[in-house]
Amino acid sequence: MSTTIVPTTANPTSAVLDHSTAPNGVKLPVYMDNHATTPLDPRVLDEMLPYFREKFGNAASRNHPFGWAAEEGVEQARERIAKLIGATAKEIIFTSGATESNNLAIKGVAEMYREKGNHIITQVIEHKAVLDTCKRLEKQGYRVTYLPVSKDGLIDLEELKRAIDDKTILVSIMSANNEIGVVQPIAEIGKICHERGVLFHTDGVQAVGKIPIDVNKMNIDLMSITAHKIYGPKGVGALYVRRKNPRVQVSALIDGGGHERGMRSGTLNVPGIVGLGKACEICMNDMAAEAAYTSSLRDRLKDKIMGSLDECYINGSVEHRLPGNLNISFAYVEGESLLMGINDIAVSSGSACTSATLEPSYVLKGLGAGDDLAHSSIRFGIGRFNTEAEVDYVANKLIDVVLRLRELSPLYEMAKEGIDLKTVKWAGEGAH
């Protein structure tokens, strides 16, 4: 393994927060929420800094060296991103991030191909940037099919085939899910779409840079990418738009100076783009070793937890999963109280109490997990900068807190008495 992957002393978070140190040398708080965002890799920052200073030019300034320097940085980034996904540089359109990329792909295709049809297919556990975009299009007269997923979190390819009709213009299925890390059968979906003459967009935010993605081998026509999930900066992303077989066009959402082949106007975020490019290059070079490293840490965490606690359930397929993702429901324990007990560890929960909408995770509900298990879920996102000592610290602390909260849980007590919680008539049922 490359030594650059485990820079325990160069952890970029170490200088940012007020840290304390656990007895085993682990710096607290531990960051293990790498699906939310990742720390900026110092190598990425180094590459970006000149573009804030001497290379500050506008990449669209064609007649002086400042513009040329900026443009050169942008074009190098375009090449690096394209290389990571098997595309050509001209197929990369820069955006402000994956939410914009998803909007541009879906709304842009919907408007551009309106004559051809008005039907879009997606699935129930997509990111809100896809689901809410589709909902808006429904209000504008488009028809959207939301495919269900199995309890493993995977769509049924036969169901996808049946859903495609002569009005279908686009299928949008994420490569990997942000909560459960489940990786969809992208190549198979791409093949089906290609055969049926339907465009295929994938939200590649969690997958790109973590697992091999090749837009040609997988018949991907459009793909959303963001920098901040792959140790790049926030506020910059890209949309891959296929240029041949078929040539895909999207209507612009933002009009202006005609940047990015007219698909996305606006002065380019040059330092951000340079950072995205460098982040992609590092991912490309280190992908196999990094995946082996993060999946070994993930498995260590999983084995420690599952070996010490009963009634823990892994949400989503274990086999078809991102290397660094672990999502577990701890039965009889509520997620927010669990997070409170491990407050020196940064992770996420599917509990309603931790969400802005006060609803439990729709992704876990989509798997048929039941609201009670959704409330009890914790998502661990293990990344490049996590260490084995951190994993051990997290596992031990979590096990202690779950045991403590179960002692406090009337549900655990009832279950141990042999009461089937599903048959209990709850006083507050339907009232929340």
């Binding site: 109280s337 509990s351 009670d372 549900l411 006083a427 507050g428 049922e429 929340h432």
Partner: protein, 137 residues
């Protein structure tokens, strides 16, 4: 979300955690909330039948830190009160004591409900007992 020091204190050191024999005539048990809502509270009181004073209280709660704190506080407050006095405890007092934010007010409502449910259970039991005694005479 930032928690108040009092919520943190009750979460870290919950008072009166445990269970009492729910079949005992002196014990009233309230079970409120539902797992799919993310909150279930079980609050138990042990009442002196002569004085109607709540001599002991225990709780167990499945829920967020504010739910745990609300029910922990409720057990502290009911202890030593008569059941009539305990029925006067309002959720707004719990909100104030724990400095609960608006999104956590339902936790205090649930704690008030749990007190009322426990007292109800005790009253139902003692009423049956009185009836049983009466029918024997």
């Amino acid at each position: 979300m930032a928690y108040s020091d009092k919520v943190l204190d009750h979460y870290s050191h919950p008072r009166n955690v445990g269970a009492m024999d729910k079949n005992s005539n002196d014990v009233g048990t309230g079970l409120v909330g539902a797992p799919e809502c993310g909150d279930v509270m079980k609050l138990q009181i042990k009442v002196n039948p002569e004085t109607n004073v709540i001599e002991d209280a225990k709780f167990k709660t499945f829920g967020c830190g504010s739910a745990i704190a609300s029910s922990s506080l409720a057990t502290e407050w009911v202890k030593g009160k008569t059941i009539a006095e305990a029925l006067e405890i309002k959720n707004t007092e719990i909100v104030k004591e724990l400095a609960l934010p608006p999104v956590k007010i339902h936790c205090s409502v649930l704690a008030e409900d749990a007190i009322k449910a426990a007292i109800n259970d005790y009253k139902t039991k003692s009423a049956t007992k009185v009836e049983a005694v009466a029918s024997h005479q």
